[in-house]
Symmetry: C2
Subunit: 312 residues, 2 copies
């Protein structure tokens, strides 16, 4: 394991900012994206192509894609809820497009007012749109399996349902599927089991990333379980911004800084310079003075003598 | 793994209370111990036999041992820094005695003003004391390897030194050794490696427990790594009380509630009733109104439909 490359995919500018009410100015977002890319993060989800009246926080996504594309080596990812969003994403030149599909149909209806069948139709239409692009301009297309580990509305989400939707997303034309613990229900045993099951259906290469939350404090333990199964892309949010419906400390997203520290200490390559990453917090804090940033490693600092791989 | 029994060893009344300045009244400590035992926790470190002028918070340890011994099925554990403390512990009737020995000699000198050689002499004297007790009244004797994963003073602590001290503690008469991440420096890869190495020296049965901190957010990930290696006893502190020199969220100890949730969700047996365990917080809060209790699971609540093993 030690020595392998793990991609940290920063989702703060999308998942983080959509969950808080203050609207970060576009220039501040650019500064954040630039600083985090300069710290070595190679994939950043910069926004979501949703109507501005629904998520005014993300209304500048097209401009951010254009900006982020100018940063060498950076994979510019976006979320799209439908074909219209995908058209905008393709026009803007996003490198990676994710459509979230909630395995809990109750959640899907509540969230985007669409059934599974309707979402799969949308997925197929997006896949056709991408295929119609000239080679070299086709973004990678991911189906994000939301509520894959449980649902606040339905409770347990049956594994069979996850596999069914994963297979359907691939048939509809996704390049890969990602498992998402939208509700913070996952545990490490379940993470291992579900990754193995989904991979047995779609193939290892088509299930490479997971989006885990830290709602019940298990975020990094779940990430470790995912690494053990060979997952190579882990989503995280700087300062754990986003998805925080609870009291202080109960952050939604995994904290990028803590994840990066864990990976570095374990000897994984991430390309991330931890000192520079910790400094990115100042950029975000300056633009969001009233938003609390979480993170244990930022509070405690790096261990004395820490130089990448620790205690080896 | 699922189905095996994991011992959660509550260290809050010792490690927690020694780290905060308010002194919890003895009756409140008894209520805490009783409530947590009633919630199913089967091992509790109730205090430390140190001079009251050094740790006035723990001056009532003998009384707590006597009280806790009346609770059926509870293993009553205490910490002792030296022979004098062990004499008091044996007289009080503790079931388990731990002597901490810092693998970092700088830390040992700073903390207890003793070299390794002096601490090992003390350990041998305690072992002799225990052996002199009538059979059936001999407490289990553990050597706790503090700073085993790194030291705030020395930085990296060489693995060879950990093995040397582990072997020396066993030779001095300990029944087992425990690995302690006193400084919150451990990472999962290191946890696995060090457990394996120590077990190769002392035998699997003689290295069954770990004391992990959550200083950099890796506490539960490290616990998971320890479980993967077959560790069967995990220390934790209710509300994460203790060892918290940093900002909010940067708790020192692993939070008992989060650990218990993770274990239950993974299908491990712990004997703990999670609802009852969460209610123990009220007992502690009432006695320590100014001390912040941490924990993600307490803030977020248990998942909808959670009934012990989740998502199976």
């Amino acid at each position: 394991m030690s020595g392998s490359f793990i991609e940290i995919s920063e989702v703060g500018p999308r998942d983080g900012l959509q969950s808080i009410s203050p609207i970060m100015p576009t220039e501040a977002k650019k500064a954040w994206i630039a600083a985090e890319a300069a710290a070595g993060v190679r994939e950043i989800e910069v926004g979501s192509f949703v109507p501005a009246k629904i998520l005014p926080q993300l209304a500048d996504t097209a401009e951010l894609v254009a900006f982020a594309r100018t940063i060498p080596g950076l994979t510019v990812a976006v979320l799209v809820p439908n074909l219209k969003g995908a058209e905008a994403a393709v026009a803007a030149g996003a490198h990676k497009i994710t459509i979230p599909l909630s395995v809990s149909e109750t959640h899907s209806l509540r969230n985007v007012r669409r059934t599974h069948a309707q979402m799969l139709e949308e997925t197929a239409a997006i896949a056709a749109l991408i295929q119609a692009q000239p080679e070299g301009r086709r973004p990678k297309f991911e189906g994000g399996l939301s509520t894959a580990f449980g649902c606040t509305l339905e409770g347990v989400v049956p594994e069979a349902k996850v596999l069914e939707i994963a297979e359907a997303l691939m048939k509809a034309g996704c390049d890969e599927v990602g498992l998402s613990d939208t509700t913070g229900y996952a545990n490490p045993a379940q993470v291992k089991r579900l990754i193995r099951a989904v991979r047995s259906v779609v193939g290892d290469h088509a299930c490479a990333g997971v989006h885990l939350h830290n709602t019940r404090g298990l975020g990094l333990a779940n990430a470790l379980a995912a690494l053990d199964e060979g997952i190579t892309t882990l989503d995280a949010s700087l300062g754990g911004i986003g998805g925080c419906p609870f009291a202080p400390g109960a952050s939604g997203n995994i904290v990028t800084e803590d994840l990066a520290f864990m990976l570095a200490a374990m000897g994984y390559e991430t390309g991330v310079d931890l000192e520079k990453l910790l400094a990115v917090r100042d950029v975000v804090k300056a633009a969001l003075p009233d938003t609390e940033l979480y993170g244990f490693t930022p509070d405690a600092g790096l261990p004395k003598g820490f130089s990448g791989a620790w205690g080896l």
